[in-house]
């Protein structure tokens, strides 16, 4: 759909009819054209067309036309992905559990870097971002805009808060995934370095959400050195309560939801990268998504066309010849 930034210029369009009245080349009178050789008949209409096209293109250029932007639907390979990212202050530590020093990379920074790479490799994903700390935060609704997603991930570089309310964060993320699409696959990727006890009412809400619609859940557990793993079963006699082993119990809870669930335990940036690659491999399904089409300025094309037409007309004037030079001889042959 074409729009114009300055439509009043279009009122000058009737000017393009002038070449039908005013000829570009000077005519030389030649008697009985109908009895002469008929050749090059297309040159005249071509010149008139050029002479009409030049002002038309110029006027259209002044009106500054543009193609309206928007988005087009297409079928790609990807998924509706909600990134649920832990913003607790412990994420700002390194995998070794220290504050980053020198060339060290914090867990949050490694997660950001690897997720940005992951997003860049998957152009068809529709992605939403949520974060949780003391409270869940909707960072970015589901969108196809890669710049918005990249900006949202980059914005997670702000220092984190203290608490880890993973339960309500999961509720928010699963809600977002539910709203994203009715037919395509949906996935929630939880990136955290810890967990917390999920309140019973939140557990109920999560079970209800899980019962309503299928969502693939991936938990990328950034394990700090010395922390207990989520797959570690406590030895007999050791306490195994959600308060002492919240990560293990969150893992058990997520397994109990009855949804496709995969947990990855990563204790280094390389392991995070492997886990993310594996998630990407598993979440490559056909998806009906939309590709943004930006507004495109067309004035330059009009001005270019007008310039080419003017150049062609100038060349025609340069090539202009008379049929025969007008040099009338004296009436009488000089004696």
């Amino acid at each position: 759909m074409i729009g114009f930034a300055w439509p009043p210029a279009l009122f000058a369009l009737p000017l393009l009819l002038l070449p039908l009245v005013i000829r570009w080349l000077r005519a030389s009178a030649v008697p009985r054209l109908d009895l002469r050789a008929v050749e090059g008949r297309a040159v005249g209409p071509l010149l008139v067309a050029l002479a009409m096209l030049a002002p038309a293109a110029l006027i259209l250029g002044l009106a500054q036309p543009y193609l309206r932007g928007g988005s087009t639907a297409y079928r790609g390979i990807g998924t509706n992905l909600v990134l649920l990212i832990d913003r607790s202050s412990s994420m700002d530590d390194t995998f070794a559990g220290r504050s980053p020093q020198g060339g060290d990379e914090s867990k949050a920074a490694a997660a950001r870097r690897i997720l940005l790479d992951f997003i860049a490799r998957r152009p068809d994903d529709r992605i939403g971002i949520a974060a949780f700390s003391t409270a869940p935060m909707l960072v970015l609704p589901m969108t196809e805009s890669r710049t918005a997603i990249a900006a949202a991930v980059a914005a997670l570089a702000e220092p984190g808060l203290s608490q880890t309310d993973v339960g309500r964060g999961l509720t928010l993320a699963m809600g977002m995934a539910h709203e994203a699409s009715a037919s395509d696959s949906r996935a929630v990727v939880l990136v955290s370095d810890g967990a917390a006890v999920i309140a019973p009412e939140v557990q109920t809400a999560l079970r209800n959400l899980a019962a309503r619609r299928q969502v693939n859940i991936y938990w990328l557990y950034l394990r700090t050195k010395g922390a207990k793993g989520i797959f570690e079963v406590p030895e007999p006699g050791q306490a195994d309560t959600p308060h002492l082993r919240p990560e293990r119990h969150l893992h058990i809870f997520l397994q109990s939801l009855g949804l496709p669930y995969h947990a990855f335990e990563a204790d280094s940036p390389g392991a995070v990268e492997d886990a993310v690659t594996e998630i990407g491999r598993m979440e490559s399904r056909p998806i009906l998504t939309r590709r943004p089409v930006p507004r495109r300025d067309l004035a330059w094309a009009c001005h270019l066309l007008a310039s080419l037409c003017c150049a062609a007309l100038a060349a025609a004037r340069w090539l202009e010849r008379r049929y025969a030079p007008r040099r009338p001889a004296p009436l009488l042959v000089p004696a």
Binding site: R26, A29, L35, G44, R321, R322, R326
Partner: protein
């Protein structure tokens, strides 16, 4: 130009056939009577003019019949100039053909006056008559030099209508035209002029015979129809134009020859001496 009109005094025309008519003039008449040129001998009783009794023939006649000598009478001849001033005459390249036509009309008027022949003129522009001068013995040459001549119109409708109104005898039609006509148009015009003797004067512009072969664009406008055409001029195009024009001119000459005419071709300028020579040789 007025001073050079006397050059046209040299123009003279003589018809091969004798003319009927009693009015005294400079041309051979068909009627026998008094004159300078001996014609034949006739019996006195049939032509009772004893002043021209042929004694030798009368004496030697075995039957004793008296004979008289008869002479060719002289009579006049109306010179009618038919000028085709259709719009094509106004196209100028190397010749001002309208000016040439005006000068020729004045020159023939001058020559007719010198030959004591009545002179008439019709200027036709397409289907309109621009100027119609009835036969006169007055000297019109100087006036005709100032004749306002604005070529216009197309075709030969007025010329053909004029031909139907002309007398069929004792007239010589001088057809001055650029002959920018199709063979069919020319044939129709000559058929309308028949059986009058016609002297065709072809005004040619050498500029239109061979266009410039330089590469370029030329916008052409037909002065008769107003039609325009833009052409890409190339050496090949120019050669083709010239060839087609030569073919058309040959076709026109063939049509004229079929009517017993040999056109006097004037290219760009009038050479009066050459015109007079051509005129004396013209088949009239």
């Amino acid at each position: 130009m007025n001073a050079q009109l006397h050059l046209f005094d040299a123009l003279a025309w003589r018809l091969t056939q004798g003319l009927p008519g009693l009015r005294m003039g400079a041309h051979a008449g068909r009627i026998r009577g008094a004159g300078e040129s001996f014609a034949d001998i006739a019996p006195l009783l049939a032509h009772p003019d004893p002043r021209r009794l042929d004694l030798r023939r009368s004496i030697t006649d075995p039957l004793g019949v008296l004979h008289v000598r008869r002479f060719q009478t002289r009579t006049d001849l109306r010179l009618h100039v038919a000028l085709d001033a259709s719009a094509s005459l106004g196209a100028v390249a190397h010749a001002d053909r309208a000016g040439l036509a005006r000068l020729l009309a004045a020159g023939f008027a001058q020559a007719a006056r010198r030959a004591r022949d009545p002179f008439s003129l019709t200027v036709c522009a397409g289907d309109r008559v621009l100027h119609d001068q009835p036969p006169t013995r007055r000297s019109l040459a100087a006036d005709l030099l100032d004749l306002p001549l604005a070529p216009a119109g197309r075709g030969t409708a007025a010329l053909e209508a004029m031909a139907h109104d002309l007398p069929q005898e004792r007239i010589l039609v001088v057809l001055i035209s650029d002959f920018e006509l199709s063979p069919d148009e020319l044939a129709a015009l000559l058929a309308a002029l028949r059986p009058r003797p016609v002297l065709s004067v072809w005004l040619r512009d050498s500029g239109f015979d061979a266009p410039s072969p330089r590469l370029g664009l030329a916008e052409l406008c037909d002065p008769e129809t107003g039609r325009r055409r833009t052409v890409l001029t190339t050496p090949r195009w120019a050669a083709r134009q010239a060839q087609l024009l030569r073919d058309r001119q040959a076709a026109l000459r063939r049509i004229l020859a079929e009517h017993g005419l040999s056109p006097i071709e004037i290219t760009d300028s009038i050479d009066v001496a050459e015109l007079a020579a051509s005129l004396s040789e013209a088949p009239l």
